[in-house]
Symmetry: C2
Subunit: 204 residues, 2 copies
C-alpha cells in the first residue's frame, strides 16, 4: 500500500489569463526571472521578429503559410488574431513538456482561456486582476501605444472580460509594486493543486 504514501505528481497545465492591463506578461517574466521549474510555452506567431528577438526563445516565428498549415492540422491548443497577425499555442510543445513531468505555464487572453478549457477540462485557469477598475485604466493609459480611442475600447473589453471571472478556477490580484506577492500566490496555488487528493489529469 505504499503508493498511498507516495502519490504520482501529475503535471499541471497552468493558464495565466485576465483582462488586458492585469499584467499577464509581467507576471510570467518575473516567474522566469525567479528560475521556477516550469515549462514556459513559447508562442508561435506570424509577425516579424523585432530587433533582438530570438526564434524559439521569445517566439516561434512562422510564415503565414506555415502557420495556416499547422492550424489546419489542429496543431494549436489555441489561436488568436492580433491585428493582421496570428498567435498560437503549439500543442506538441505542451504535450512534450507534460510528458517529461513538468508543469506547463502559458499565457492567453480571457477568450482563449475558454478554448483551452474546452480542449483540456483539467487545465488550471488563473485570472489575474488589479485592485480596481481605476488601476486597470491607469495601466492601460501608461501604455504609450494606446490612442485615446484604443483606450476606451480596451476598457470596455476589460469590463467584459472581468464579467467572465466565473469561468476560471482562481483569482489572483496583481497589485502595483507587489509583483512577487502575485508570483508567491500563484506558487501557493500550484503547490496546493499538487496536494489535491483528486488531482487534475491533463490530457491533450
Amino acid at each position: 500500500m505504499d503508493d498511498l504514501y507516495r502519490p504520482i505528481p501529475y503535471p499541471l497545465l497552468i493558464v495565466i489569463s485576465g483582462p488586458s492591463g492585469a499584467g499577464k506578461d509581467t507576471v510570467i517574466r518575473r516567474m522566469k526571472e525567479r528560475g521556477l521549474p516550469f515549462h514556459f510555452v513559447v508562442t508561435a506567431t506570424t509577425r516579424a521578429p523585432r530587433p533582438g528577438e530570438v526564434n524559439g526563445q521569445d517566439y516561434l516565428f512562422y510564415s503565414g503559410e506555415e502557420f495556416t498549415q499547422l492550424m489546419e492540422k489542429g496543431e494549436f491548443l489555441e489561436t488568436a488574431r492580433v491585428y493582421s497577425d496570428y498567435k498560437g499555442i503549439p500543442k506538441q510543445q505542451v504535450r512534450q513538456a507534460l510528458a517529461s513531468g513538468q508543469d506547463v505555464v502559458l499565457r492567453v487572453d480571457v477568450q482563449g482561456a475558454q478554448t483551452v478549457r474546452r480542449l483540456c477540462p483539467d487545465a488550471l485557469l488563473l485570472f489575474l486582476t488589479t485592485d480596481s477598475e481605476e488601476d486597470l485604466s491607469g495601466r492601460l493609459q501608461q501604455r504609450q501605444t494606446e490612442s485615446a480611442e484604443g483606450l476606451s475600447l480596451r476598457l470596455a473589453t476589460a469590463r467584459e472580460e472581468m464579467s467572465r471571472l466565473g469561468e476560471f478556477d482562481y483569482v489572483v490580484p496583481n497589485r502595483d509594486q507587489r509583483l512577487d506577492e502575485t508570483v508567491d500566490l500563484i506558487l501557493g496555488i500550484i503547490q496546493a493543486e499538487h496536494a489535491r487528493v483528486h488531482h487534475r489529469r491533463v490530457t491533450l
Copy 2:
C-alpha cells in the same frame, strides 16, 4: 462592478486529520507557535485536567453530565470516545469564530472528519501522512504509552484510515524533521482556497 475586484474573504473550516501517528497534534502546535491568525478550536472533554492544563485554553473540561446535555442538544460538530472519556468539537465556538471572519482550525480523527463533512460539506479536509508505513510504525513505537498489543492494533487502524484518503480534499506529507514544510504547505493550501473563484461557503 468593483465587487469583482474585491471578493469577500469567506472564512474556512480547516480540518486537520490523518491516521494516528501522522502528527496532527504536533502540526497544530507548530501552527500555534508561529502565531498564525486562525481560531484553533478548544476541544471539550470529560477527562480530568492533567497538571498544568488550563480550562478554556488546553481543553474545555466538562463533567459527564454536562457533556451529555450538550450532546443531546446537538451542540457538538463531532464527538469521539477515547477509552472511557468523551471529546467533542463545540459548534457554537466554531460558529462564533467563523462569524468574526476567522478561519477555524480543528483536529479530528479520520472517522470524525467524515462526520464534519456530512454536517458541513464545504469544510476543507486535510489528510496528514508520513512518507511510508515504516515511518508511521516508527512513530507509533516511539510513543511510550503503547503496549505491543496496542501498537499492532494502532497499525491496523492506521492502514484502514489510510484507505480513506479519497474522502479528503488534500494530502499533506508530514515528514520527520520537516515540520515547517508541512505547515507551509497547509498555509499554501489555505491561501489557494481563499483565491478560489468558487469558494467554499461554510454553514453550521
